[in-house]
Subunit: 419 residues, 2 copies
């Protein structure tokens, strides 16, 4: 999943990130507080970019970058850099990619007990060759080890960890049976579930688990695929090229996507966060604005999490949307648009995962969903301004200021009966 | 450089490699005998192959392989598995690719003193995505670190090592100044030089060093590029598609390539080995057949090298070509065609480098050039039958038998005055 943040030149960008002291590092924290559980892919991303125009069929001079990736891994790394210590459940081999991912994982300070290591695993790798315009010219994904080795058996070993978790995130790299086992385990533990669709193809795996899911974070194409999978129809169609979201008003875009959003809400998903790249996000839920209140039972506000909580509570006071009627909430849908932030884009990869990581960290710190998504968008902006999927560190002051800017420009789009 | 060996189904292949005891491993040998010096690239090859037909512009499910590559590294590894202990001079970074290459290098038992390690080096990587037919769909080569860090200064540190070397191999990944420094150093030490052209573009670097070079091993396209570079003209043209070598008799192909070969010989290269893939090789030299006699002053016949020497001397008796007149040898050119061997092809990469490695190992053991190239072709055949660039081990019996088959089918093509 990607979020595109509009490219706006920011001449002060270099100085601006350096001037603020870096206050967050997962390594510095040691505690036994409730922490999120993240189940899904740890993937090595190999990105090759030619320096000159490539002739198809030949090897062109250029640069090759290795990046730690995988949706679940990116979310967990992002959360660790925002002061959380999520518990990762994944699978790696002992090959070059697995060794690199595991070495780098150690620097996050997060537990590696949930990461299955097995010599037979071909560590998941995605190898993409870009063209000079930054588009994928050719790409190969070797990620089937996740489906083969990240089994219900392995996942169910960590049931006790889930009992104290404020939230479980699963990415759709898991097989259908593993997604179901994870969701049933979380439901038994009374733990809310965040579903990250990964890709259009894998997003369809929502079909058997929607009733368990509290949050889902599709982009617009994944939203359409999920609505088709859940309704068992092919009635929803991707946005046409001549209809692309950049040419539409926010309201028109929402009108186009609303029927698909309603399918997800009707099938039991409590909160749908539709990511729209440079157009921001739609945050949609059944019920009135109170459905965006603090959604988790267990919160954790030590060190950076506590500082983030205080800064955001100051910058983005809750209850802004308290004027709406809460009457008959079960039959109502509520939707808000939150804008993206101007950014000096270096690379778009990882931004969607940082949006999820920032939002989840804030939810775990006890912020409400509007506040949390505002933080998520601020964190995603920081991600597009660096080469790696997740920035090496975040500045609390910058995140809090950016979150405020998003929060203040949020706009209620829709508040009416679903009937 | 590639050699294609014709694909012939060999149902016994699996059993056939397993039945012969593996007698060679560089690790088992310890000695202080004269050894070849190899200067050039150590490269990580990343090969990604989709499992299904790929749509351009998207990521497709498939497999990603990491292979130790680089022409010079492949040649050195191949020689180590044939009992030689070549001295490698190269440059690596401390990144993922550099760590992998260095770890694997340790398993060869070869010295790593000549390998410059520097944290600023982006270890050379070639990333290729293939299509379902095995052709390169897109590829990026990031190898400029070799030109930047493998400097004359670094190379000249190893002058004393070269004094006892039977032969120096350089690959054309080196910059022009580094190639010249290497060649002058070898010439001062009285050491013959083997030039491996690497690619059509890099093969042109022959232009300033031809007078120093004893052996060169171009494929037909590299031969044309080298002839154009050396003659300062563009008069030589690559084989046309409708003229491709598969449709030509060996004699016709030689007649087409002969003028380019003559340019290389006239400019001072003593032996030109033109590799023709499944069509075998042309071995060309000025002078009569005696120019193929033992070409190096220092030989090394311990352990596997000695066994290889004895087996090949038995299977491929020298002096087969002694009937020719040695009269007026300085103005004559002598050319022999050596055929390829049927093989069960798994992957063609590395075969050309193993041809060079096999030939150089044999030369260092004291075999003559006809015998050595026969061994080289046998070693190249073993290389195409495995996934990696260099097989994990060679069977002496198989190599000796295959070399005999090549040697017995060699055919003199051309023996006439160059005037």
């Amino acid at each position: 999943m990607k979020i595109n943040i509009s490219e706006t030149s920011n001449p002060h960008h270099g100085a601006y990130t350096r001037l603020h002291p870096v206050v967050a590092s997962g390594r510095e924290l040691e505690h036994e507080d409730p922490e999120a559980v993240i189940i899904g892919g740890m993937v090595l991303d190999i990105h090759a970019t030619p320096s000159v125009h490539a002739n198809p069929g030949t090897t062109t001079p250029g640069k090759v970058f290795y990046m730690q990736g995988g949706v679940a891994r990116n979310v967990a790394e992002c959360m660790s850099k925002l002061g959380a210590k999520p518990y990762m459940i994944s699978a790696l081999g002992f090959d070059m990619a697995g060794n690199l991912l595991l070495e780098q994982w150690k620097t996050t300070g997060l537990s590696k007990e949930g990461i299955l290591k097995n010599k037979d695993i071909e560590t998941p790798v995605v190898c993409n060759i870009f063209d000079v315009n930054g588009e994928v010219a050719a790409g190969v994904a070797s990620v089937e080890a996740l489906e083969k080795y990240l089994t219900p058996d392995w996942i169910l070993r960590f049931k006790s960890t889930l009992l104290s978790a404020p939230v479980l995130m699963v990415d759709a790299n898991l097989s259908g049976p593993s997604l179901e086992a994870s969701c049933r385990m979380a439901a038994d533990a009374g733990c809310p579930i965040w579903f990250e669709p990964v890709s259009v193809t894998k997003s369809r795996r929502i079909s058997t688990i929607a009733k368990y899911v509290t949050f889902a974070s599709p982009n617009e194409d994944e939203l359409i695929a999920m609505a088709n999978a859940l309704s068992g129809s092919g009635e929803f169609h991707p946005l046409k090229e001549n209809h692309k979201k950049d040419n539409l008003s926010t309201e028109s875009l929402f009108q186009i996507l609303k029927p698909a959003v309603l399918v997800l809400l009707e099938k039991g998903i409590k909160v749908v966060l539709v990511t729209l790249g440079s157009s921001g996000v739609f945050l949609c839920s059944k019920g009135g604005p109170s459905c965006f209140k603090i959604p988790v039972a267990k919160t954790n506000r030590n060190n950076f999490s506590g500082q983030l909580y205080n800064a955001v509570m100051h910058n983005c006071p809750p209850n802004c949307y308290s004027g709406f009627s809460e009457h008959d909430r079960s039959n109502r849908v509520f939707a808000v648009h939150l804008p993206s932030l101007p950014a000096s884009v270096v690379r778009l990869t990882g931004a969607g995962d940082c949006l999820v990581g920032g939002t989840l960290s804030s939810i775990c710190a006890g912020l409400d969903i509007m506040q949390s998504v505002s933080v998520g968008i601020a964190v995603a902006k920081a991600a597009v301004e660096v080469e790696s999927n997740v920035p090496s560190a975040f500045s609390l002051a910058v995140i809090a200021d950016d979150a405020k800017s998003v929060f203040c420009h949020a706009k209620v789009l829709f508040h009416q009966s679903m009937l």
